[in-house]
């Protein structure tokens, strides 16, 4: 008797909650359309309000984003722009939550890796109209253009600038330890794996730095640096036949790093990401960073000229590096309001193509313009000339390959396992399997 009653009550409660579920489900379409209506007409002033999320590509806390928004709003009083800056550690998860909850920004300043993932999943407005023949001819670089395209050839990202990733060294520490003998500071500064190992060992033996360098692998932030390191040491690739694949040379490189870590010539940063490593470089705890780039060398510049930072390409066995590179660009989320999409695109063109703001924005990213017509924006700057000479070493761009996000997660875990003493070949095999497992529709 008591049991039946309890069962009945339970059934009722279940019905109640399911009923409620059904109710709100049926109201979802209405719910999702209301924010758009809100943005379109809700604003009393009739302005189109757009939200811009920016990774710190213009520099951490530079205020340049707001400057751009103010300048654009001054010229276009029908648009209102809200600037939100996000960081590389939490930003990606924030984007996921925002997209999931239908509160994605209108405009995002990022790089192809994530943008193409969002584009392929159907969250972005297509940018085909911005890729005019004039623009394509001006860019004149097939690889770069294709990095802006989704699986089906739709353009999702409007690029503004690009630059290589490289290594940074602490000159005074190299000189004090004598490790400077192994570094090539002539010409385009390419160097070999052997010299890299010797440099690290000399640094270790001299004790000028707490640790020579840190192979950070506590997360995916800045992981292109560690991938470039591994891939250059014995000229391996991470992609073969469109699949993620650490090959035999990659395994050899992992083994080398493993032995260097166990001998103290390098240290492993299991709970560090690139930003942690860079700050340790800046505080002269380590003598090198694997995550230097045009924006990082400004963001993490020496404080009070405490040391001199030196940029070098990644070392490789044959002395010919294959560099990863960054493409900075914008994408527009399709939040169901054409007015917002149009306003965002106008703003993008203002940032990238305006005669005064365009070149200024490129310089703010501290990278090279994708438009060849902008010419040499860093005339007379020897350092930028050196970086420009490395564009010939650009490797294939793989950030838009499917499963990129999964691969990045597997990558830092692979490093953790190998550098903790795991068998490199077996762990690489695990990586090759896991990174290619398509787990999401």
């Amino acid at each position: 008797m008591k049991k039946t009653k309890r069962f009945l009550a339970l059934a009722l409660a279940l019905c109640l909650s399911v009923g409620l579920a059904a109710c709100s489900n049926s109201s979802t379409p209405g719910g999702s359309s209301s924010p758009a209506a809100d943005g379109g007409s809700g604003d009393a002033s009739g302005k189109t309000k757009i939200t811009w999320w920016a990774f710190p590509t213009f520099g951490v806390d530079s205020g340049y984003e707001q400057e751009l928004a103010d300048a654009f709003m001054a010229a276009n009083d029908d648009v209102e722009i809200e600037v939100v800056t996000i960081n590389f550690t939490d930003g990606p998860a924030q984007l996921t939550t925002a997209i999931t909850s239908g509160t994605a920004p209108d405009l995002l300043f990022d790089a192809p890796g994530r943008i193409i993932e969002y584009g392929n999943a159907g969250y972005l407005a297509d940018m085909n109209d911005l890729f005019t023949d004039e623009f394509k001819a001006d860019v004149n670089n097939e690889g770069l253009l294709s990095s802006c395209q989704g699986r089906d050839g739709t353009y999702y990202m409007y690029p503004i600038s690009s630059s290589p990733f490289y290594m940074g060294l602490n000159l005074e520490m190299l000189e004090a330890s004598g490790a400077i003998d192994y570094v090539n500071l002539e010409g385009d500064r390419t160097w070999t794996t052997d010299n890299f190992v010797k440099m690290c060992e000399t640094l270790r033996d001299s004790g000028v730095a707490t640790v020579p360098g840190i192979v950070y692998c506590g997360g995916s932030g800045g992981d292109q640096g560690t991938r470039a390191l591994v891939n250059n040491l014995y000229s391996s690739t991470i992609v073969s036949d469109g699949k993620w694949n650490v090959d035999a040379n990659g395994v050899k490189a992992l083994e080398l790093l493993q032995s260097m870590v166990s001998e103290g010539a390098l240290d492993v940063g299991n709970s560090m990401v690139a930003s942690d490593e860079l700050q340790n470089f800046q505080k002269e705890i380590c003598a090198m960073t694997f995550c230097f780039g045009t924006s990082n060398e400004v963001s993490y510049a020496p404080i009070d000229d405490a040391y001199t930072q030196v940029a070098v390409p990644f070392p490789s066995d044959d002395g010919v590096p294959e560099l990863e590179y960054l493409v900075n660009g914008f994408c527009v989320f399709d939040n169901g309001d054409q007015a917002k999409i149009d306003a965002s695109k106008r703003f993008i063109q203002f940032i990238c193509d305006d005669p005064t703001w365009g070149p200024k924005s490129v310089v703010k990213t501290n990278a090279f313009p994708v438009r060849t017509s902008f010419g040499d924006l860093y005339e007379g700057d020897e350092h930028m000339a050196l970086l420009a000479s490395w564009t010939q070493y650009y490797g294939p761009y793989y950030n838009t390959l499917d499963n990129f996000a999964t691969m990045r997660n597997e990558w830092f875990n692979l490093l953790q396992r190998v550098l903790a003493g795991g068998d490199a070949a077996a762990e690489a095999e695990t990586f090759n399997t896991n990174a290619n497992t398509v787990t999401t529709g």
């Binding site: 409620l20 998860a93 506590g218 299991n270």
Partner: protein, 304 residues
């Protein structure tokens, strides 16, 4: 039920009381059904689909696939094991320790007693985020305080959160400091309520302090002990901010808990909501069983 023994009331009165009762319950039920039960049901439904970021969260029904994958997922099992380690280590440690501190301070003068109670309660008030950031600095490998002290004393620097074997202990230490405050307050109160005439009678009979503790005090603080065990269990299962800010589940998943893995799968790595929800469902079932058992035990213990 006991109520059937009461004199029968008229149906009208009964109905009226039911309506009034539900009016009283309305606000609580609104929030409970709307923001606990409803999402729970939705979570269960989603766990049978392949909803992910790639399909806009609108997955299709895939039956038990997520659950099957779950039971084959090594990382899930590793995280489950870590969760169990955290619960199994922290619950007895926190309980025993707070009981000891409680019994050491409850006889003190009220000034000293509230001083200690306050000190141990501070990390609870401060909130885990503020606590974790300072611990992170103390644990830091190159410029942390602990390694400074160790090397200054002539030892070798330790890797702390960098090491797959040490990291979980680093998490446990912080968890410990943020967990014992409340139990101590409870034990101080419970020990103060122990019938002092019983204690005195036993002492007159020549019982040692230890005997007094086991025979008289321990049984009378039993209900408190069970309560402490329950809140500590729940706290330990919920440990999230600590892991997210200190180790992000690493190195090599050695500090990943089910809770943290769920968050990672949903928002960071795969963005696979169906799978993450399946994880949530399994976790909820396990916790429900845990607390049902503890609740039964507690009710049994306090029946007067």
């Amino acid at each position: 039920m006991a109520t059937t023994k009461a004199p029968k009331r008229s149906l009208v009165l009964q109905r009226r009381e039911t309506v009034v009762s539900y009016l009283f319950l309305l606000p609580a039920l609104f929030f409970f059904v709307g923001f606990v039960i409803y999402p729970m049901v939705m979570g269960v439904i989603t766990s049978f689909t392949d909803a992910s970021l790639a399909n806009g969260g609108q997955g299709t029904f895939i039956g038990l696939s997520n659950y099957i994958r779950l039971f084959q997922d090594k990382i899930f099992w590793k995280s489950a094991l870590n969760t169990i380690i955290i619960v199994v280590v922290s619950v007895p440690c926190v309980t025993a320790f707070s009981l000891w501190v409680g019994s050491a301070i409850y006889k003190m003068r009220s000034g000293a007693r509230s001083f200690f109670r306050c000190v141990f309660y501070l990390p609870v008030v401060t909130g885990s985020v503020a606590v974790v950031v300072v611990w992170k600095w103390m644990y830091a490998k190159y410029d942390g305080l602990f390694n400074y002290l160790i090397t200054a004393a002539g030892g070798d620097a330790l890797p702390w959160t960098e090491s797959a074997t040490m990291a979980i202990w680093c998490v446990l230490i912080i968890l410990f400091t943020t967990s014992i405050g409340q139990p101590i307050v409870l034990y101080v109160a419970a020990l103060g309520n122990v019938d002092s005439s019983l204690v005195e009678a036993a002492q007159v009979d020549g019982a040692t302090n230890l005997q007094v503790f086991w025979k008289i005090k321990w049984p009378s603080v039993m209900p408190t002990t069970l309560y402490v065990a329950i809140i500590t269990t729940i706290n330990s299962f919920q440990c999230f901010a600590l892991i997210q800010l200190l180790t992000r589940g690493g190195p090599n998943y050695s500090t990943s808990t089910v809770m943290y893995l769920l968050y990672q799968i949903a928002f960071e790595t795969e963005k696979n909501f169906g799978y993450a929800d399946a994880m949530g469902v399994v976790l909820a079932i396990v916790i429900a069983i845990f607390s049902a058992v503890q609740f039964k035990v507690m009710n049994g213990g306090t029946t007067e």
